[in-house]
């Protein structure tokens, strides 16, 4: 079922490629009329607030952080009019980070166990945004010369995320206060959770791109997820909150 959804979405994303081609040359000779196709790379910065999932514990806390990740993908832009179009993308995002959770269990008046875990993870997402894109073409002056083919784009739309791969290790520190005997037990590499992020997610993006010169472009976007992206076993929950900045190239 999961993979069917991916396949259908991918097909839908690229359905409109079956059009007549026009006067393009080079790489663009394969691209139908009314389309732009290109590739993008980005660095993504995650800054979500992570909350704890107490489970059966009496008290819980959580925090998390991701390192700057990277992404690479392709986009297709279909012109609905001179200034408006639909842009779909297929991007792979690599991300890594850690979750730190703390859970306390007051078993009775004599025994309290607190369990602190650090889950280090790395993960690859495939993401499919479907943007409504507004675009303005203009000719700015650069170093005293007119510079043709500069375009500013503003895009907004939903984004589907699919967690293709996850790798994780769990380090655990357990403090046991039992009958006035306090013990701290540490197990780095205690176990592996496998998937840390949920397979499917959905959210919305808002962004800008600017074609600087000859198809080269810079872009920036903000993505907000609508669903908790961590699996329950992590003891944490968070919505995607991510900024992406990158470069791209429109095939000409």
């Amino acid at each position: 079922m999961k993979y069917s959804i991916i396949l259908i979405t991918l097909c839908a994303s690229f359905l409109s490629f079956g059009q007549h081609k026009r006067e393009y040359t080079g790489l663009n000779k394969f691209i139908p009329n009314g389309y732009d196709v290109g590739m993008k790379a980005n660095a993504n910065y995650y800054f979500s607030g992570v909350k704890s999932v107490p489970g059966t514990s009496n008290f819980a806390e959580a925090e998390g952080e991701e390192r700057i990740g990277g992404g690479l993908g392709f986009y297709g832009h279909f012109y609905l009019s001179e200034k408006v179009g639909i842009q779909t993308e297929l991007n792979a995002h690599y991300r890594s980070g850690y979750l730190r959770t703390f859970r306390g269990y007051k078993q009775d008046s004599m025994r309290t166990i607190s369990n602190e875990e650090i889950t280090n993870y790395s993960t690859v997402f495939f993401e499919i945004p479907i943007y409504l894109k507004f675009r303005w073409e203009f000719t700015p002056i650069h170093k005293g010369n007119w510079k043709a083919d500069s375009r500013l784009g503003l895009f907004v739309g939903p984004r589907l995320t699919f967690n293709a791969f996850s790798n994780s290790t769990v380090a655990r520190a357990t403090t046991t206060d039992s009958y006035d005997n306090v013990s701290l037990s540490v197990a780095n590499d205690a176990t592996s959770l496998g998937r840390v992020n949920r397979f499917f997610g959905v959210g919305a993006s808002l962004g800008l791109d600017y074609e600087v010169w000859n198809g080269f472009l810079v872009h920036a976007s903000y993505f907000r997820g609508f669903l908790n992206h961590f699996v329950d076993e992590t003891g944490a929950k968070a919505f995607e909150n991510r900024v992406e900045v990158g470069i791209g190239y429109r095939f000409r």
Binding site: I68, G69, G70, Q107, D108, A171, Y179, N181, S185, I247
Partner: protein, 261 residues
């Protein structure tokens, strides 16, 4: 083009941050733990009475045979009813015979069930969930038992208990039915349960864990017991650490046992 190159360099540079070191806990403040073997052992209880002829004859010989066969790898103790000197053995005998429905002596239970070889085989083949180990400190009047308990499997929902029985070997006391009579050498007698300072005594185990427990979780408990002036030889004194849990119906089931062989 120059600006593009600069931007590309910045982008590639940002990816380098992705390879930061992973986060771990410092082991500097970790408690000192006794090494706990990841193995299952069986527990053989001999319910015996000093006034039972059966206990002094067939039962005594059978327990001696079991010691020869199994003592190097398993935990064998005698729960004795009757006077074996300055010991709390009657209370422990009564608690266990009531808990496991033992109505006569001599009776043998292995892992709280019957059939020695079958029970040992089943226990050896079972996954190791938890085990415990101990070190003894002996003073002329005290037996101090430092223990470490370690879980080897995650567990949710069960309540686990640890029973630290003080076991004294070769206690000389009267035994009906034994040819040595008042000079009978009683083997591996449970004389007392070690206690937690400031907490009530539990003859069938102290609750040690419930709720969520994780593989690798370890903790220390320090117990104490009075040392009788009759137990002179330190080699006589050992501890049987017995791990049990409550099943869904509230019955106590056997989990593991360990001693210093």
């Amino acid at each position: 083009m120059k600006s593009i190159h600069i931007f590309a360099a910045l982008f590639m540079g940002s990816l380098l941050f992705s390879s930061c070191e992973k986060q771990v806990f410092s082991t500097g403040n970790e408690s000192d733990f006794i090494e706990v073997p990841e193995k299952n052992s069986s527990l053989i209880y001999h319910f015996s009475s000093t006034t039972s002829a059966n206990s002094g004859s067939v039962g005594y010989d059978q327990f001696t045979d079991y010691l020869d066969l199994y003592d190097s790898a398993h935990v064998l103790v005698t729960l004795t009813e009757g006077n074996v000197g300055n010991a709390n053995n009657d209370t422990i005998f009564a608690a266990n015979s009531a808990a496991y429905g033992v109505l006569s002596t001599s009776t043998f239970l292995t892992n709280f069930g019957s059939g020695v070889a079958t029970q040992i085989s089943m226990q050896e083949g079972a996954p190791v969930v938890v085990n415990a180990a101990y070190e003894l400190e002996l003073t002329p009047t005290k037996i101090i038992v430092n223990t470490t308990t370690e879980f080897f499997k995650d567990n949710v929902g069960d309540e686990f208990f640890l029973t630290p029985y003080i076991v004294v070997d070769s206690l000389v006391a009267d035994q009906t039915g034994h040819p040595d009579g008042p000079a009978t050498n009683h083997r591996k007698v449970v004389t007392e349960v070690a206690r937690l300072k400031n907490y009530p005594v539990r003859y069938l185990g102290y609750s040690i864990a419930s709720g969520e427990v994780y593989a690798g979780q370890r903790f220390n408990l320090k117990f104490e017991a009075e040392r009788s002036s009759d137990w002179i030889d330190p080699e006589q004194i050992s501890v049987a650490l017995i791990l049990t849990k409550k099943d869904a119906s509230g019955n106590i089931t056997y989990v593991n046992a360990n001693t210093n062989h």
